[in-house]
Symmetry: C2
Subunit: 237 residues, 2 copies
DNA sequence: AGCCGACTTTCTGTCGACATGAAATATATT
DNA sequence: AATATATTTCATGTCGACAGAAAGTCGGCT
């Protein structure tokens, strides 16, 4: 006989969805800086917020931790991963490398479907630049470059690149207020040139564009940071 | 087989150690092919084997899954990640790139402590080559290259490279029986030349050696595969 | 006899509760 | 008063149990 009276407060949630819901929501909030770097993550709070037990929440946290989006101090707190301004050069190096490698692969192996994907992302990016929506700009820019990486067809590159771009999103968010509208339009043009080079399978041209583009972004971030007095006080947020 | 003397009543296990114990043990067994690709992972079995509840085991599995060492089919089985022979070229590309990038960084930024680390790993590698222990050779070779990556000081590179080398360990294990003793000795010599170039901060020399080394390994794996009829039947294990 | 559907099995996903260890607080001592 | 120590607090780590979902099994039907 079944005990399944199912009570009043029905667990109206599909079975395997708990962990991924929490994971994706928190991931987005961390990258959006909705959750500030260093802010504590409380399992009980999340348990109440997402209306589920701590178990699926813990599993989501383990997943986030393995992507370095959160840091867990054993037996004590777990906090949103700080933005490490001390290792920025390693970040810039890796980011530049992946810009170059992924666009080279894309220029080599792209097919029409992948090109369409890239163009769609570029349109979304151009729209948010027109709209002056800095947040959406940062997000669509990320998607554009991930689409290029996908066109290259190397999952190892795509995965690392996506992580780097997400980390970049966090840093850019810190400075979104200082965004001016000169650089974004330049990015739109550079993106268009990239698409052209990829479509033409001109690997060296694409590579050169990637180098220039990466240089732009690195310089942009560096100028934001050096213009911001906060970092002379607390280097690690 | 190890420990397990803990029997009887006492939950004599340190508090935060459960997850990492399971994680590290399974990780080693997966990379060693002690757990065959595609073989099922049963939480209840592991629960009994490690003498702990399913909760810490599940968290270890989540961690392994996020590193693509296992694959979980929602609501169904979780299995050891198959070795994907179809995407080998992406693997070779990424591996070669990381050989080059990490050794270039190492040749640029290495300090004496890092060099000592690298030399220690090389000694361990040379010893296992002398001993003709193919398994240990594969493991110490991995450690040697990770040490070089560490010397470069870029965590993003080190992490990806370590993952790639571990994946390579799985593939090499498949063919360990066909190891001959010509190539390993060549590897020892090549490793020595790499150390020399890194110590001399000769970036271009180091890069050239990395390319040659990567080429060796890729060719070795490819020859094993093409010499092995298994793969014409089931391309994905 | 063969195909379809309900039952059973056996996993995984989720839950609530307890144990433990570290920070925070209160207390005692020099 | 300041430091060292005991106590409280409370978030985390772990546990055992229940519920839901597929695969496998068995019996009924045309």
């Amino acid at each position: 006989m079944r005990t399944g009276a199912k009570t009043a407060t029905g667990p109206e949630r599909k079975r395997g969805s708990g962990v991924s819901t929490v994971y994706e929501t928190l991931r987005r909030e961390i990258i959006d800086l909705t959750l500030a770097p260093g802010s504590p993550i409380d399992e009980a709070h999340l348990s109440e917020r997402f209306q589920m037990s701590r178990t699926p929440i813990r599993e989501a946290l383990v997943r986030l931790a393995s992507e370095n989006l959160i840091v867990t101090l054993t037996n004590r707190a777990t906090v949103v991963a700080p933005i490490d301004f001390l290792n920025l050069s390693a970040f810039f190096d890796a980011l530049t490398l992946m810009y170059r490698v992924t666009i080279r692969e894309a220029a080599t192996r792209r097919d029409e479907a992948a090109l369409d994907e890239i163009r769609a992302c570029q349109h979304a990016f151009a729209r948010s630049v027109e709209a002056g929506d800095a947040f959406d700009m940062i997000a669509t820019n990320r998607d554009f470059h991930v689409a290029i990486a996908r066109a290259g067809g190397n999952g190892y590159y795509t995965e690392l690149f996506a992580r780097l771009l997400d980390e970049g999103r966090r840093i850019l968010r810190l400075y979104y207020s200082t965004f001016n509208d000169v650089l974004p339009r330049r990015y739109v043009v550079e993106h268009d040139e990239m698409i052209e080079a990829i479509a033409a399978k001109d690997v060296e041209k694409a590579d050169a564009l990637a180098i220039a583009h990466a240089d732009q972004i690195v310089r942009q971030i560096q100028s934001y940071i050096s213009a911001d007095r906060r970092n002379s006080n607390s280097l690690v947020l």
